[in-house]
Structure formats: structure tokens, C-alpha cells
Symmetry: C2
Subunit: 211 residues, 2 copies
Amino acid sequence: MTPMIKQSSIEHFLDELASRKATPGGGSAAAVMGAMAAALLSMVCNLTIGKTKYRDVEQELGAVLARTEQLQKQLTEMIEEDVVSFGAVMAAYAMPRQTQEESVLRAQTIQTALKAATQVPLRCCHVCREIIDLSAVVTQKGNSSVVSDGGVAVLAAHAALRSGALNVMINAKIITDRQFATNQLAELDALLSHASAATEACYQSVRKTIG
Amino acid sequence: MTPMIKQSSIEHFLDELASRKATPGGGSAAAVMGAMAAALLSMVCNLTIGKTKYRDVEQELGAVLARTEQLQKQLTEMIEEDVVSFGAVMAAYAMPRQTQEESVLRAQTIQTALKAATQVPLRCCHVCREIIDLSAVVTQKGNSSVVSDGGVAVLAAHAALRSGALNVMINAKIITDRQFATNQLAELDALLSHASAATEACYQSVRKTIG
């Protein structure tokens, strides 16, 4: 069994990303960015909870922490899921198409694989959109001496959201079930809408806190 | 000897990021984002070079590849350098200050450490600014079937640049040598200037290529 990507070293993962193999690629990189964003919010929460000065927000940030820990785990799994779903698309394209039956089966398998391959980055986008909103809470209420880490989190989550969006679009384009594709793209538009404005608002508030 | 962060697993690195320890933090996360950006550009170059259809750009993308490979290595080292330089600042703050001499020595050591801690993220910003420009070349001339990976690269590089900027600012603020701080901030402003516009232009061109 191939070892999970999350267990490979950062250096090895980067070399695999750079190689002429198509996976891991941008989808996995987006998941890593999202996971780092969730982890940085957890760090700010961890450095806030238990400090007298921040007693008033302790309960709220405790709830945020429970959520960012979950989201970090989900995004860490997506590093691998993106590779697996892309691998299924590649395998479908490699199916034989010498007979009419083979061609039909291959086309159907490609379409099924493409639909699945669109759902992984779309889930990544959902999670990263949530992280952007959580960043606003953490940077406003968390320990101000590590506010810059919350700022890095919102930037990483936004880059991951827009990266995931590219992967949804590139797959949605070649899905023949147009109703499915249109629904996926509408869901994506809703996630992208206001995300840039929310990210900028959070980033500017972090800069203001830094002084 | 503590193992290098680049040799730790992705999963372990994320858990360390999330922990209540101040390092690794946003500076290391920025370096990882930048390194992934460089690696993704290398991947697109690797999937372009040697293909008949892209023979005209082979030499140009070969030169880009040599550079992105260097930048990936530099950014990978910065994951660790950020932790080391921040550790030096923490160690300086922990110095004794019972006597006048101790207080003076401590204050001087803090300032020296802060200057060094500003230079790591500033170098990260320089490198990421270069990656944004290289992304434009790679997404315009590289293999269009992996153009989305170039799009992820430019987003990651821009997020890393702005993340590094937060770390420069947070340190520059408490540096008493105002001439040094002002110079660092001016250098940073030059790097940030036009970076958003260049990133958006590249992202939109990628979306156009995707269709």
C-alpha cells in the first residue's frame, strides 16, 4: 500500500508536487493551504484560552477551536482525496475503446469520475469559506500578540478557496450532465461571493491591530 | 539535534502549527505556501518541456524551471529559518535584567534578534514577488491542460507575500533603529505594489484559458 501523502515529509511532498507526475497537484496544494489556515486559527485560540485578559472570550474561542480542529482534519484528508479522485479520472481515460460497448462504458466511467473529482475541491471551497468567517472572529477576539498568525490564516484560506474554484471549473466544463455542472458552479459562485471582501476586511483589521 | 521541519510529516507539521507553541507559526506557513507555488510552476514546466506542441517555448520554460527549482529550495529552508529567528527573539526576551548591565545587554540582543527576524519574511516576500511574475509566463506559455495548477501557484505566492508582509510589519514596529525599520518597510511597499494587480491579471487569464 502506498503511504498516505499526509505522512510524507514536507520536502518530499514539495518534490512530488514539482515532478512531471500530474498528482499531487493544485488540488492537494489547496488542501494544504486550507489545513494550515485552520491550524493557525487553532494556534491563536490555544494561545488565548486560559489567559486572564481573555477570560470573556474563552468560551467562544473554545467553540471555534473545536471547529478549526475538525476542519484541519477534514482538509488534511482532502490532500489525499484529490489525488485519488484525479487518479480515477486518469484511469477512466485509459480504459479500452476498441468496441462500441467499450467506448460507451469508458465514456460513462469518465463522467462518473469527473463528477466525483469536482466534489472534492467543492468541499474544500466550503470548508475554506467557513475558515474565512472564523478568521474574523479569531483576529478580533483572540490574543492580539499573535494576530498576524490569524492574518496569515485568512489569506491562506482565501487562496485555497479560489484555488479549489479553479479545479471545480476545469472539471465542470467537461461534464456532459449540464444540470449537475450548473448546480456545482452555482454553489461555487455563492461561496466565492463576498469571500474577497470578507478576506480584505479581516486582513485590514489585522494590519490595524499590528499598528 | 532537533530534526528539520522540512523532514517532518505534513500531518505532524500541521499539528505543531496548531499547538500552543508560538513556533512554527505564520512565517513558516507563508514559506510553505511559497514553496508549493514554486513547485507547481516547476510541475507545469515539467509537463510542457519535451512536448512537440510546446517546442517554441521549451527553452524559455527550461530557464523558468531552473529558477523555480532554486526558489522552491530557498523557501523550503525559510520554513526553518523563521522558527530559528523567532526563537532567537524569544531567547533574548528571556535574558536576565536584574542589573543595569544585564538590562542593556538584553535590550541590545532583542533588537539584533528583531532585525534578523524581519529579514527572513522580507526575503520570503522578495521570492514570492518573483514567483508571481514567473506565474504569468508559465500560465501563458505552458501546457494549457495544467493551467489551473499555475493559477493555484499565483494565488499561493500572493498569499505568501502578504503573509510575509504581516511578519515584517509586526517586527518592524518594535525596532528602535527607525532608519532600519523605515528602509525595510519601504522595501516591502515596493514588493506589495502592483502585486495584487499582477495576481488578478494572471488568475483571470487562467480562468479564461479554462473557459
